[in-house]
Each structure stands twice: as structure tokens, then as C-alpha cells.
Subunit: 494 residues, 2 copies
């Protein structure tokens, strides 16, 4: 009874999805609400739920049900929930089964230990302190790679965790294009930036960004917005979406962060409700997710139509900060291009270069291309080569990012891929919606939101990333040209 | 290897404790933070974690490990974690195993369905609407009773869920004493109350109650205080305690509610940290828990020494509300005795009478002593008999409480028992701490807090409720006399 097997499978997957959402809440709460005294026990609670979820998912019974359900599910259309669920979960299950519980546990431990030491090392600008946990995380990552069939390159295995089916060679091809085309553009079009002094009242920022995201589609029925140290998007279901933000007084970076997280949130919010409680009810890959956050942050939030709509209100709220400003001057200021040390603060023109550097270093780390002690030098050399700047210390250099402390090798590339995808999507949606600029200028974001739901969001994880991309833009391949065209047009107009 | 079995058992119980705390967070979040869109899925998440936890706990393996660990554990002192854990968990496990999964699930469903209908019935003052779910809950409760060996009275089984080992006959004896001694006291000492008009600004209330609980022992390391509709105390561990409150503008009921929840929170906060991640890391019974909330609300919060300390600050914050007031007048006002319709709004002198009424009705419901349709009449008759007041409609009468809608028969008694225990403990601690009034008047709550930790809180659930009571007050028996003495002294002095 193949249908019975499918229903049984679905019930088991629903249970696992519930545990996943509970973990998502534990984690949101830890960053946003939890008193510090809860930290030690929270780690145990997360570890327990993670272990239960993994045990339930990797059980042989899941494999048996998949085998039994497959013939029946495959009689359904490719796009159906039935066929998609069995197709996607088969792949997930086969991957999850490869990793012994012992290695999984060791990676979790090393990650949490590594994180704590990284915090100290970064605070004290002491790379040596970070050497041991970095080596431990690297060694475990290599052991992880060995759990799988040999790939074209070992790094393929790591990429696959964040961007299914993506190959190192493919990313290299894309990044080489960027090195050739984006890097010179930055050099030729970067203006020597103004740095006006600002003092944006936090209360006014809160008012303004809520007004912005409410126009975007945020509402009190299905969303929350809270302050935190490191902004992120999370939630417990398609109608419980939680975004977080932070506030600076000397710039409006917090606002752009909020728009960024809104983009992540909207992707999850617009997933077809019928996928709820299945592993298909989330964004298809980190790259595709980042395309959505980047789109709302940059293609919308740093656009002239956006500011034509919102600038009058911003002037009202932020008063003398905008004395002597018209919308064009402010638009120029929020699009300043300037090579800088810190990835998360980089502008949209230089951001990808930070990623290319990390992508190359990660492959060398996995290949033991140089002694680990030498990593800061390697980092600094490339910062000079790609961005033309000197790194004054490791805190502002190799120690700036959390990812390696927790063994997340392969993750960084998805940030740049997301940027590129966002431009591909924007070209396509602009063709479908020739009035999109006028809508934005009128403060009407419904056409944009609806287009994204129809072409991308509703699918969740039913297809592979490239199948999904093909449905959205007509080609399965990530193409860096639209992003470079976009930058070129924007920067040369400024 | 009996010690190995114990360690294995402990690991399994720790996992179950983690799931329990995750559920506690899901539930806190649902009441305090969750956007309404999350409700439907949250119910699924709770049901899944509850089912997993129950399956893990009732597994035969737990029984086997208990049997294996017992000889080794019993070689430890009675007070030790080892002996206590095996002793308490054996009892828990045997009880949990009695109830078939099917009945458990039916009760959960009936409870959540009954709740939804009760909300409507109460809103529409329509008891008939509530009849079916009430009958369903009652029938399932009777089936639940049948899962256990015959007790002296069937109601004993229900009481035992909330107050282990408590017998109906014992509660009856206690309540008969109250009917004889507390009821006449209320009649003779109740004054005809003033009802002055107040308008307490909510911001000032928030400031004031935070100042109060900070003096009590609330801090930002281990506590949160948030607004909600129905106040409660919760948390995810001994150093993550969450209390909630609400605000009214015409009285300071919210403040007393906050002190009440602080009492619950402090009990959990002061449990010995070594009990964390075991089933012993919580208050021993609902009655004992309520003794702690009632103590901080009434013995502390409605005392003259308390207001001698805080009244000047209250005058500062609440301005003209206290024109013409001295501390004695305000003390009189917060100790007004007046029979009223609603249990949760009842004063400390009439509260127990509301409970006695429910205790008697519950036994009759279980015994089918009258047709269910007649319940409102039975309710109203007793309200007249015990409190001398007429019930104008069922919303203000039999439909006021949530408990029966979710099948929680046997719960109410613990509120009154808590009141009585609080007076027993207060007599004892006043003897141990002759300066307690002076400390309170000086705003120093450390001696009180420390005494409670040492004699009560730290034990958690290591002993039975009566063993615990004996350690605190020297007798294992709940004695209603101290509470009546306390009321008599307080009311006659007013």
C-alpha cells in the first residue's frame, strides 16, 4: 500500500518539522528574549532536540517508507506535493545517513567550543588563540567530506550543504567573471566618498522602519520585529515570521538590515501553506534566500524610486540630518562605494570581492595549501590584491567572521551567489512588470510581492535550486552578467 | 551494574527534561510573544513534543533501568539525589504507565476542543453550549480514574495528580474546619468597603512593580517580566524565570498579581542547581507552589511593614490617587474584605470559600449526583449559602473558570491548600526570624528569601509534599488553624 506508506511518511516528517520549528523558537528566544542565565541549559535543550530530530530522520524506517511510497508518488505530477516530497526527502535522507552520529556530535561540540574561543580571540586580536579550534573544525570538516562519494573536488561536498548541486568549478567560473568585470568597475567608478556626520534618533528609526516594512507587507498577524545584536530572520511557521534588527545613531544601516531581513521573512511567509509541516516549507537554498534579502535591501531599498516615496517622511522624522539634502543627494549617499575591511559593512559593489577571497582561502584550507599559522598573511595579501586596502589587525581581518569558528566552510559563497541571483530575478521581473519603478515610487509593493510569490516563493523547496531558478528566470544557471550590468548602470549614473 | 543503569536513566530523564523546558518556552511564547498567525501550528508543535516526551518516559526501558538502579540508589542517603530520583521517578513512571496512549490523546483533544467552546459559551452567557464538552471531559475523567487501583474515593485519584498522596477525606476535614471557622469570620469582620475612584498610570505601575520585585530578588540575569492577558510564571530553567502580569487603571491588582507570580518564580529560581535536567527540578506540588505565590502576594504584599517601606514611593509615583491617604488608610484599602462573584478577584478572606464550593461540586459531578443541566442551579445555591450573594448570570457564575473546560478536575483545591500552607510557613518562619517585619519595613527581603531557600525551595521535588511540609514547618499535615488565626488577627486589627 504505497499511499499508506506515503501518509505514514508524511506524519513522521510532520513530527520532525515540528521539532525543527521548536528549535527555531529556542534559538530566536536565545538571541532576542532569554535572560543570560538561561544560556547553559538552552544549549542542552537545543542539543537534545537536534539529536531526537536527527535520530527520527535517519531511521531506516524512513528509507523503507520512501521506497514503498516512491512508485505511487511518482505517478503524480512532477510539481505535486507527493512527487516533490518523495524526491527531495530521498536525497536529504541519503545525505543524512552518510554521517555517523559520533562525527555529527563531534562537529556540534567543536562548533560551540570554537565559537566561544573565537569571541575571545577576536576581542583580544589574538589569532594564535584561535588556531587550535580552527584546526579541530577543519579536521572534522575533512572527515565529514570523506563520508561521501568522491566528488570532482572535495569542496563540492561542502557547497552542496548550502547550495544543493552547486559545484566548485561553477562557482569559480562565476567568481572569475566577477574578478575580471566587477573589480575593475569598482576601481573606475568608486567616487571618493563624503562622510557627513549624522545623528539619527533611535525612536525615529523605529518608527520609520516599521512604516517601511508595513508598506512592504509586514503585519501584526504574522510578523514580529525585535532588536538584537546580530540581525536575522526566523519564525515558527509560514504565518509566524520573526525578523530582528539593530540601531546605529550615525547611519541608517539598521534600516537596510531590516529591509534585508524582511526579504528573508517574505520568502518564508509566501511559501504555499499546504507545504507546512513538511521539509519543503522553507527557502530552497541559502543563495536563493540571500537573493531575496538582497533584493529588498538593495534593488528596492537603495533605489531612487524607493527614496522618492519615503524621503519626505524621512526628512520629517530625522530633521536636521537632512538639512541641505534633496532626495538625489541622499540616494547618492546610501549608494557610496568604498572598499572597506569588514564584509558585513561592505557596499553592494565591493561585497562580492570579500566573498571571493573567502571562497579561495577555504579551498586552500581544505587542501592544506599552507600552514595554518600563515592564514592571516594570506588573508591580508588578498585584501590588498582585491580591494586595495591594508588590514591593520586580525580582528578587522581574518577574525571578523563567525563562520569558521563553527566549522561552516562553504557557506560564504552563497552570499555572493545571492547577489547575482537577485539581479537575474530583477531583470526578469522588470520585464514582466514594466511599471515596477512607478509602483515603488507610489509606495505600492503588492505587484512586486505577488510576482515573487507566484514565480518563486510559493514553491518552497519542492524543486532543486537550479530547477527553481529556471522557473523564475528561465535559465537554470547563475549568471553574473546581470549583476555587473546593474552595478555599471547604477554607478555610472551617480 | 547498578550505577551504570542509574547514569543511563539520568541521561534519558535529562533528555525528557529538555523537551519539557522546550514546551514551556513554546507555551510562554504563545501567550506573550507569538503573532496570532502562529497559533494553529503551535498547537501541533506542542502536541508533538508532548507525545515524544510521553513515549520516552513510559518506555519499558525506563522501568528496567529503575529496577536495576534501585538497589544501588537506595544505598545512598534518603536525601541524596540518587535515592530521591529513583524513588520519585518510580512513582511517576508507574502512574504514567497506567494511562493508555489512546485515552491520553482523547483527553488532550477534548481539552483543547472544550476550551474553545468554553470561550464562546462564557462570552455568550450560554451554559447549554458548554454541556457537551463538559460531559465529554467528565466521561474521559471517569475513564481516567478507572485506570488506577480503586482508592478510598474516586476523587482521590484526581487530587493525586496535583497534590500527590492527598486524600479527599483529608481535604474535606480541612474545608469543614474552614466552613466552620473562616466563613463566620468573614461575616463578622467584613467591613462595608469604600470604593474610591483611582486612575493609576500604567507607566508608573510598571516602574513601581519593577522596583518592588527587584527588592524581592528579581534581576536581569535570570528573570523576565512581560505583560500578558492571564498572568502566569514559567521559564526554561532555574536561572531563566519568566513572570507575566497585566495592568488595570482603576486598581493595583496588577501589582499584587506580579508579587504572586514572583512567589512562584522564586520557588523555581531557588531550587538546587544540581537538580537541573531531572524531574526533581520543580516545585513539589501545586499546593506548595501556591503557598509561595500567596505568601509574597498576601503575607508580604498586603502587610503593613511592606507598605511602610513602599508607600512613600507609591505616593511619589501615583500622585493624586493618594491625596488624603496615609499608609494605614491604604493598607486598609488593599485588605478590603467583600464577598464577590469571581474567584480570581476574591480577597484573601473569602477566596477559600470559592474553592470549597468547587471542591464539593466536582465530587458530585464525578458521582453523577445530579443531572448536568442542573449545575448552574447547584452553583448558585452554594454561592448564596457560602458567600451570601446572588449570581446574576452564568458568565459570572459557573462559566467563569477555565479548568473544567479542559478536564482539570481536582485542581481547584490546591489553591486553598496553598493559602493554608502559606500561613503555616509564615508562623514558622516568623518564629525563626523574629525580625522579619523589621526587615520588610527596611526593604530587606534577603532573610526571608534565604529562609525559604534553605527550608523549602532547594529541595525541589525530592520528597513528597507532606515530607516537604514536615521539613519546612515540622508537621506533615496541612493545618487550617494558622490561616484562620492570621485572618482573625489581621481583620480585627483593621
Amino acid at each position: 500500500m504505497s499511499e499508506t506508506a506515503f501518509n505514514d511518511l508524511r506524519t513522521r516528517l510532520a513530527e520532525i518539522a515540528d521539532i525543527g520549528k521548536a528549535m527555531s523558537l529556542l534559538s530566536w528566544d536565545e538571541s532576542v528574549m532569554m535572560p543570560p542565565g538561561g544560556a547553559k541549559l538552552r544549549a542542552e535543550q537545543m542539543a537534545t532536540l537536534s539529536r531526537i530530530s536527527h535520530e527520527k530522520f535517519t531511521a531506516p524506517e524512513i528509507g523503507r517508507l520512501l521506497d514503498e511510497a516512491r512508485p505511487w508518488a511518482e505517478q503524480h505530477e512532477y510539481d505535486s506535493l507527493e512527487a516533490s516530497l518523495v524526491r527531495v526527502v530521498t536525497r536529504d535522507w541519503e545525505k543524512a545517513r552518510r554521517v555517523p552520529a559520533e562525527l555529527r556530535a563531534a562537529r556540534t561540540r567543536a562548533s560551540s567550543l570554537g565559537y566561544a574561543i573565537w569571541v575571545e580571540a577576536r576581542k583580544n586580536n589574538d589569532f594564535k588563540m584561535f588556531l587550535d579550534p580552527l584546526r579541530e573544525n577543519l579536521d572534522l570538516t575533512k572527515r565529514y567530506v570523506e563520508c561521501f562519494d568522491a566528488a570532482d573536488e572535495p569542496y563540492d561536498i561542502l557547497l552542496d550543504d548550502y547550495e544543493r548541486d552547486m559545484k566548485t568549478a561553477e562557482v569559480r567560473r562565476i567568481f572569475d567573471y566577477l574578478k575580471e568585470n566587477q573589480a575593475p568597475l569598482v576601481k573606475s567608478l568608486a567616487r571618493s566618498p563624503e562622510h557627513p556626520e549624522h545623528d539619527f534618533a533611535v525612536d525615529a528609526q523605529k518608527t520609520f522602519e516599521l512604516e517601511v516594512v508595513r508598506k512592504f507587507g509586514f503585519d501584526d498577524y504574522a510578523w514580529r520585529l525585535d532588536p538584537t545584536v546580530h540581525p536575522f530572520a526566523s519564525g515558527t511557521g509560514v504565518s509566524d515570521i520573526r525578523i530582528t534588527t539593530r540601531y546605529f545613531s550615525d547611519h541608517l544601516g539598521g534600516l537596510f538590515g531590516t529591509m534585508h531581513e524582511f526579504g528573508h521573512g517574505l520568502y518564508e511567509r509566501q511559501i504555499e501553506a499546504s507545504l507546512e509541516r513538511t521539509p519543503l516549507a522553507r527557502g530552497v537554498s541559502l543563495g536563493m534566500h540571500e537573493s531575496q534579502s538582497r533584493m529588498w535591501e538593495n534593488f528596492v531599498g537603495r533605489s531612487l524610486p524607493f527614496w522618492r516615496h519615503f524621503f519626505p517622511r524621512a526628512k520629517e522624522l530625522f530633521g536636521k540630518n537632512f538639512d541641505g539634502y534633496d532626495v538625489e543627494r541622499w540616494y547618492g549617499e546610501v549608494n557610496t562605494v568604498e572598499p572597506s575591511l569588514i564584509r558585513v559593512e561592505a557596499d553592494e559593489a565591493t561585497y562580492n570581492l570579500h566573498i571571493i577571497l573567502r571562497f579561495e582561502l577555504e579551498q586552500e584550507l581544505i587542501a592544506d595549501a599552507f600552514p595554518l599559522e600563515q592564514l592571516p598573511e594570506e588573508w591580508n595579501r588578498r585584501m590588498h590584491e582585491y580591494l586595495g586596502i591594508e588590514v591593520p589587525n586580525d580582528t578587522l581581518g581574518v577574525l571578523q567572521d563567525v563562520h569558521w569558528s563553527s566549522g561552516s566552510f562553504g557557506y560564504f559563497s552563497t552570499y555572493a551567489l545571492g547577489n547575482l541571483i537577485s539581479a537575474q530575478i530583477w531583470e526578469r521581473l522588470s520585464a514582466d512588470l514594466p511599471d515596477v519603478d512607478a509602483s515603488i515610487e507610489a509606495g505600492d509593493f503588492a505587484p512586486l510581492r505577488d510576482w515573487l510569490r507566484e514565480h518563486l516563493h510559493r514553491h518552497g523547496r519542492k524543486f532543486t535550486p537550479s530547477e527553481t531558478l529556471e522557473r523564475v528566470v528561465g535559465t537554470p544557471t547563475i549568471d553574473p552578467a546581470p549583476y555587473v550590468r546593474y552595478l555599471e548602470a547604477k554607478l555610472s549614473a551617480l
